[in-house]
Assembly symmetry: C2
Homo-oligomer: 172 residues x 2
């Protein structure tokens, strides 16, 4: 109870608007090995390129029509791109749903295997957090597979605070 | 991995639209003790009445401006009303955020103490689940305080399936 209270008695800070509608942003380039990498909140993403990225990490395919709808109705989308000359390649992706006021939930965090182990996953998540915080979201949540719980912990995520459990509905 | 896969390789079922935009619905009256109770998805809720309900269960107050925004940007709102003659009283509330395609997260489940212990909390949650399922949402999630984990379990929610952990972000 104390946990929720501390979250939801949040200040009357300035109301944010949906990032996608107010502005797009790109970050300065980061140099990682031989690659230059940048982030974007533009949600006009080639769905086939996104599918290719998800294939690369072994996710099962999802209907592109539904993926498109989910992106449209996400509060925030952050993608990560490798830039080589004029060529751009999608190398990371994440999105969050939100009520635009209190809560956000991060879904579909993916980094191409060729780009893992360089701190880019963390950089991607930090972009997500920074952006959500700037929109006055006080409660940032996610559901982590066991093998990435530690990764999220290093970013400041806590599992089961005060015994709060993440739960999923299954048909009886 | 198998867990997410089974969720997200969902069928190409008919696309749903945001319930709030497509239709409102009310359920037939239920008789509980001396009261007649019905559910509604209409999100034009008196914010002071909602605050009173949340006060009754001891929640800390939240800025009404943000509560209004959160309701506006929720995918689904289900409220529960006691009807006596022409008088209606708000006795329960719940809402869900969603990407309108794959995932929904249920927040702010509240039942007035006078109406607890009659199965109305379960009826409210069943309305939420039914509605989300009818919109083709395959992954219904929530974060449960320890004292209500068992309540949600009886409704078919599972905690930490395949070790997936609910996580909350805290500043470093």
């Amino acid at each position: 109870m104390g946990f929720w209270k501390s979250l939801f008695s949040a200040s009357e800070a300035t109301a944010g608007t949906k990032p996608a509608e107010s502005e797009r942003y790109t970050t300065p380039m980061m140099t990682v090995g031989n690659s230059r990498v940048f982030f974007s909140t533009d949600r006009e993403i080639d769905l086939y390129e996104l599918e290719e990225l998800c294939d690369a990490v072994g996710w099962s395919r999802r209907p592109l029509r539904k993926v498109k709808k989910a992106i449209q109705h996400s509060f925030l989308v952050v993608s990560m791109w490798e830039q080589r000359g004029t060529q751009r390649r999608l190398v990371g992706f994440s999105r969050a749903t939100s009520d635009h006021a209190f809560n956000a939930t991060i879904w579909d965090v993916v980094v191409h295997p060729d780009f893992q182990g360089n701190g880019l996953g963390k950089a991607l998540m930090r972009q997500m957090i920074k952006r959500l915080r700037s929109e006055d979201i006080s409660n940032i949540t996610l559901f982590a597979d066991p093998q990435v719980v530690e990764f999220y912990r290093t970013l400041g995520f806590m599992s089961d605070p005060e015994g709060i459990k993440g739960m999923f509905w299954y048909p009886d």
